[in-house]
């Protein structure tokens, strides 16, 4: 596919397919309200109640109309949207009543993601999301654009502006692919406790929606059934087994959605990741935009030799997990191959390791966990004294977790890079080149000052790295070394 047929100096429009997505979004935003209104009307008719539409229904209808009116702006914007490259800037214009013009210098683009769902594939279009430095959210999103145009734009941005000839297209080499067997391994090694909690939270939230829709509380029915049920050991085991099977299935589906047929190709500019399940996504990772890298594994993943590698990019929103560049790595050699463009030599391989002060292991338990549990225990005591046992178990769990966290926290550093290893039930490694630091903080408290300790925070545009409870001399040295890297290199 030729990428230099499209003249990006000429403003490009959205594909007509974008109209379908806008209509889809309108329906998606409005359907719960419409469903509630329709449901209420039907139930009122079935209950032979007086046929006067409640004020509530009028209110909901009003909100629905407001949503439609708000989306009218998006419909208008479809016709006025233009995207082009003017010199060294990407320019996006649109809007009727409030005209918008977004100008992004091409050298501030940090990543370009392409997303295709089934409709995109049928119509040879895709969505582009362009992220730039200094912003929490996706800077520019183009809902549906011709796929050739999208690939051309992605290639142009990756090569920083200039038009490329066929000779200059960087050679792409595939370095990783996830097969079905790998997906199974990832699903087995997933954090099932977290998945189980997600299922519980999701189920509870749906109970609330059902209550709003049909007018009575489904959780009361469930409570009634639970009270009537007679619990036996076999019954409990059956329940646990069903819960485990559901959890494993949900874990499997989540892993499939995230990693199915994931491929990574490398060129001299960076990596390109692509994965497919319900939709195809492509993410471009430009090396010089990477702020820091982390890789983690739990006990099962360690046995299977799997790590989850995460690249922290400039301007990333930590709460928007869909923006994160996170990939499973199935062997150690590949892990170092992916890390090496950022930092070729890990400090842990040739420098001394350091730990935090022993008080880090018990202080949080003593100052926060214990008082809170004591307060709650006092309240619970008057309700049901036996429930205090659960709180005691929680206290023991948290105390052990904090102690394990202290035991596992280690760091190494050389003249350019710091590596931190931490974790409780798993292990996470974080690698940070000092020249990526934006600013530094040194924090002390009365206790830390008495013990001649300090906590160092290294702030990057991707995430903040905290090194707690280290000697004040070490803290000062780390800070000075990181500043030398930022200011003199």
């Amino acid at each position: 596919m030729s990428t230099n047929k499209i003249d990006w100096s000429v403003p490009q429009r959205l594909s007509p397919v974008a109209l379908i997505f806008i209509l889809g979004k309108i329906i998606k935003d409005s359907w719960p309200l419409v469903l509630i209104v329709v449901g209420r009307i039907i139930i009122n008719e079935q209950n032979d109640e007086k046929r006067n539409t409640s004020i509530g229904i009028y209110f909901i209808l009003g909100i629905t109309l407001l949503i439609l009116f708000i989306h009218l702006n998006q419909l208008i914007n479809f016709f006025l949207f233009r995207i082009q490259i003017k010199g060294t800037e990407l320019v996006v214009t649109g809007g009727l009543l409030s005209k918008s013009k977004t100008i992004v210098p091409l050298n501030r683009v940090q990543s370009v993601h392409l997303i295709e769902n089934y409709l995109h594939k049928l119509t040879n279009t895709c969505t582009i999301k362009i992220e730039t430095a200094g912003s929490d959210a996706t800077e520019i999103e183009v809902k549906a654009i011709n796929k050739e145009k999208a690939l051309s734009l992605q290639s142009l941005l990756q090569n920083s502006v200039t038009e490329i000839s066929q000779k200059n297209i960087p050679e792409q080499v595939q370095i990783m692919g996830i097969q079905f067997a790998d997906v199974i391994k990832l699903a087995i090694s997933e954090n099932h406790v977290r998945t189980f909690l997600i299922i519980i939270a999701f189920a509870y939230s749906r109970l609330e929606d059902i209550k709003q829709l049909i007018g009575f509380d489904a959780s009361d029915i469930i409570d009634q059934q639970v009270d009537n049920a007679s619990f036996s050991l076999s019954g409990l085991l059956t329940l646990l087994l069903i819960g485990l099977i559901i959890t494993l299935w949900v874990s499997f589906i989540r892993v499939m959605l995230r990693y199915h047929e994931m491929k990574i190709t490398a060129n001299n500019k960076g990596f390109q990741m692509e994965w497919v399940f319900l939709q195809t996504q492509q993410k471009m990772l430009i090396q010089n935009k990477v702020q820091l890298i982390s890789w983690n594994f739990n006990f099962v993943r360690k046995v299977l030799g799997i790590s989850i590698l995460r690249f922290f990019m400039m301007g990333e929103n930590l709460t928007q997990t869909k923006q994160h560049i996170q990939l499973p790595v199935m062997d150690q050699h590949l892990l170092y191959q992916l890390i090496s463009p950022y930092q070729a030599v890990l400090p842990s391989s040739n420098t001394q390791s350091y730990s935090t002060h022993i008080s880090y292991g018990w202080r949080n338990t003593l100052l926060f966990v214990l008082p809170i549990i004591l307060v709650i225990s006092t309240a619970i005591y008057f309700w049901n004294p036996w429930y205090i046992l659960f709180l005691l178990l929680l206290l023991i769990y948290l105390a052990i977790s904090n102690w394990v966290k202290y035991q596992k926290f280690k760091y190494w550093f050389n003249e350019t890079t710091i590596q931190i290893q931490k974790g409780v039930w798993g292990v996470e490694n974080i690698l940070l080149n000092f020249n990526k630091i934006q600013h530094v903080m040194v924090k002390t408290s009365p206790f830390l000052r008495r013990k001649k300790l300090a906590t160092v925070e290294l702030h990057t545009a991707g995430e903040t790295i905290v090194i707690p409870y280290i000697s004040i001399e070490q803290a000062q040295y780390l800070v000075d070394l990181s500043l030398v890297n930022v200011e003199f290199h």
């Binding site: 600013h439 702030h459 000062q476 200011e487």
Partner: protein
């Protein structure tokens, strides 16, 4: 490929801890007290209105507890201003700026100029009355963090802002 990992002695690199920090203007203490006075006056008014208008709240033990908590908050605020004020200081180096603040929990910020994206001068009505202003510094990592030096003289703040903006331009052209 040969990798080197030479040790850099601490004595050979600039040390931020050895820099003499300059305290902020003494007049800023008055600004802080006035701000707190406004906050507590509003809070007192709200509490008074609640106790007068809502009869179930008119219990002597509740009023006593609220009064004690209120006085405690005022005492803590006064202590934090008096003790914390002397910790507020700043220093300018050729390549970065640092400032320190805090009472019980002290924080030292160091921001290299090469990472500063924007710098703005901020002054409140009460600060302007005393000829004071603040500098707020933005980096790519400062979204949730307040990086500002408060309690500077207006002229000092303006000079500092101009200096920082000049540094930003110098680094942008490099």
């Amino acid at each position: 490929m040969k990798y080197e990992n030479s040790f850099i002695p601490h004595s050979e690199i600039p040390q931020y801890a050895k820099v003499n920090l300059e305290p902020i203007e003494a007049a800023y203490k008055k600004v802080v007290y006035i701000n707190w006075a406004i906050v507590y006056t509003v809070l007192f008014t709200v509490l008074l209105a609640l106790f007068i208008l809502i009869k179930p709240l008119q219990m002597s033990w509740l009023i006593t507890i609220v009064a004690i908590v209120f006085l405690l908050l005022i005492s803590i605020s006064i202590a934090s201003v008096e003790i914390g004020f002397k910790n507020k200081a700043w220093a300018l180096r050729d390549k970065d700026i640092q400032f320190k603040k805090g009472w019980l929990f002290q924080t030292t910020h160091i921001i290299p100029f090469v990472k500063v994206q924007h710098c703005e001068l901020v002054s409140s009505p009460i600060g302007r009355k005393y000829g004071l202003a603040s500098i707020r510094i933005n980096t790519a990592a400062s979204n949730d963090i307040d990086i500002s030096i408060k309690g500077l003289k207006q002229e000092t703040a303006e000079q500092l802002k101009a200096f920082i903006m000049e540094k930003i331009e110098t680094y942008e052209h490099q």
